[in-house]
Amino acid sequence: MGFLKDITSGGFKGLIVPDYKNKNSIISTIADPMDLFGSRAGRTRDEISDINNATLSAQDKAQREAYLRQLELQQPYYDAGVNALTQLSNPGEMPFSEQYQNDFTQGTRSLNRSLASMGKFNSSDADQKLGQFYNQLSGEEMGRRYNNALAPIKIAQNAMGASNQAADTYGQGMSSAYQNFGTNSAQNALSYGQNRADTYNTIGQSLNSMAQYYGR
């Protein structure tokens, strides 16, 4: 029987009902009754879907704003650290510190006076003492530059930690939101389908009862 094959193979395009007026044809086919009974269930499904979408959108907006706000707050500290990376690698591009310039000028003057008072102004001893002094000064100056560059980098690392934490909060919050959204959307679609299925079954049972009654 062709119609049974259509039914069982999922090719159903309408509802097959007994044809009580024509015993020779046994059955007749009418359009899908759900199409005739209106689309209230469809509208309800769409309304629930809109609510789910709006809820998700609102959650995302709130979470994203909180995340971006945290990034904005941390940005100056992050930038300071990134700039310091360049300074860390290129100490020669930094100007001489006030401390170095004062130490250089006053130290050289004091040493020269001391050497002169001992009659060693132009001697190998003077070269040695000046060399030791300038070596010490250069080490101190480079140490300052290095530490001055390192400090903002550590601050930037803390800033990145805060940014990452904000990203975690955003991600975890939206993970729950998306899971709820997916579950709710799935449930919405499933309820809609379940209602249609129940209606079809009821119609089928009603028609079956009608057929039985007619048979008596």
């Binding site: 049974l4 039914i7 159903f12 509802l15 009902v17 007994p18 046994i26 759900m34 650290g81 990376l85 690698s89 100490p91 020669g92 050289t108 132009n122 003077a126 070269d127 040695q128 000046l130 060399g131 030791q132 070596n135 080490g139 480079m142 530059r145 290095y146 390192l150 690392q157 990145m160 930690g161 940014s163 990452n164 990203a167 975690d168 955003y170 991600g171 939206m174 993970s175 998306y178 899971q179 959204f181 997916g182 959307s185 799935a186 679609a189 499933l190 249609r196 299925a197 079954n201 119609i203 089928g204 049972q205 028609l207 079956n208 009862s209 009608m210 057929a211 039985q212 048979g215 008596r216």
Partner: protein, 235 residues
């Protein structure tokens, strides 16, 4: 079998099939909604991971850039004066000594300069290694953060897909069960009709026949029950 019986079976099975088809379509929609939500979550997690990785990148590269220097210093093959710090110190020392030599009418700092340069190299050997290690640690710390972030993304990816997969599996199972039940119920209902019809006809036949001999009533035969049909009266 009479045509109304067949028609009833067909009607019931048609309802069952239509119900199953509707449920099946809804399950596919539901599975699609769940999958789409999982994909959206994955995109967000990936975006967050990319944001973090981009911010961590300059610090990470500082560390990887310092790795060859650290290794060469460890092996003692690093040119100490090639470090920008040592080189800058060398320039400062040289300029100052040259200036002082000129003040004294000499051409260079002579022995004092050479001795100071050796001290500087010795000093920078230790300092430079520590600084290279510091830079490597900066990169390594950020590598750890990047790795953690990527791990979180991977976890989210896994969780989202698992959630979607579980839900899709449940939906498909639910659909299969429902199809089976609706078709089973329909066929069962339809198949029950001939039996009900048979009982109904039997009852009609029996009602049209006279009751048993009144002499067999319990009040007249010592309490024995009258003969009755063995089947149910039905309704």
């Amino acid at each position: 079998m009479a045509w109304p019986v067949i028609a009833g079976m067909v009607a019931s099975m048609a309802g069952g099939a239509a119900g199953g088809a509707a449920s099946n379509a809804a399950s596919k929609d539901a599975a699609k909604a769940s999958y789409n939500a999982a994909m959206q979550e994955i995109q967000l997690q990936k975006w967050l991971e990319e944001q973090n990785t981009a911010r961590l990148k300059p610090f990470y590269e500082q560390g990887t850039g310092a790795l060859p220097e650290m290794e060469q210093r460890r092996m003692g093959t690093w040119d100490i004066m090639s470090s920008p710090y040592a080189s800058q110190r060398g320039d400062m020392l040289s300029n100052a000594m040259t200036e002082q030599a000129a003040l004294r009418g000499n051409e260079s700092g002579g022995y004092g300069y050479d001795q100071s340069l050796r001290d500087l190299r010795s000093d920078e050997e230790g300092l430079g290694y520590e600084r290279a290690l510091d830079r490597v640690r900066i990169g390594q710390g950020n590598a750890a953060q990047t790795g953690q972030q990527y791990g979180k993304y991977a976890n989210a990816l896994s969780g989202a897909l698992q959630q979607s997969g579980n839900l899709q599996g449940q939906l498909r199972q639910s659909t299969a069960n429902q199809n089976q039940q609706t078709m089973g119920n329909s066929i069962n209902t339809a198949a029950g009709y001939p039996a009900a019809n048979y009982l109904y006809n039997q009852r009609q036949n029996m009602m049209s026949q006279p009751m048993s001999d009144p002499s067999t009533y319990p009040s007249q035969n010592g309490g024995y029950a009258p003969q009755r049909p063995l089947y149910s009266w039905g309704n």
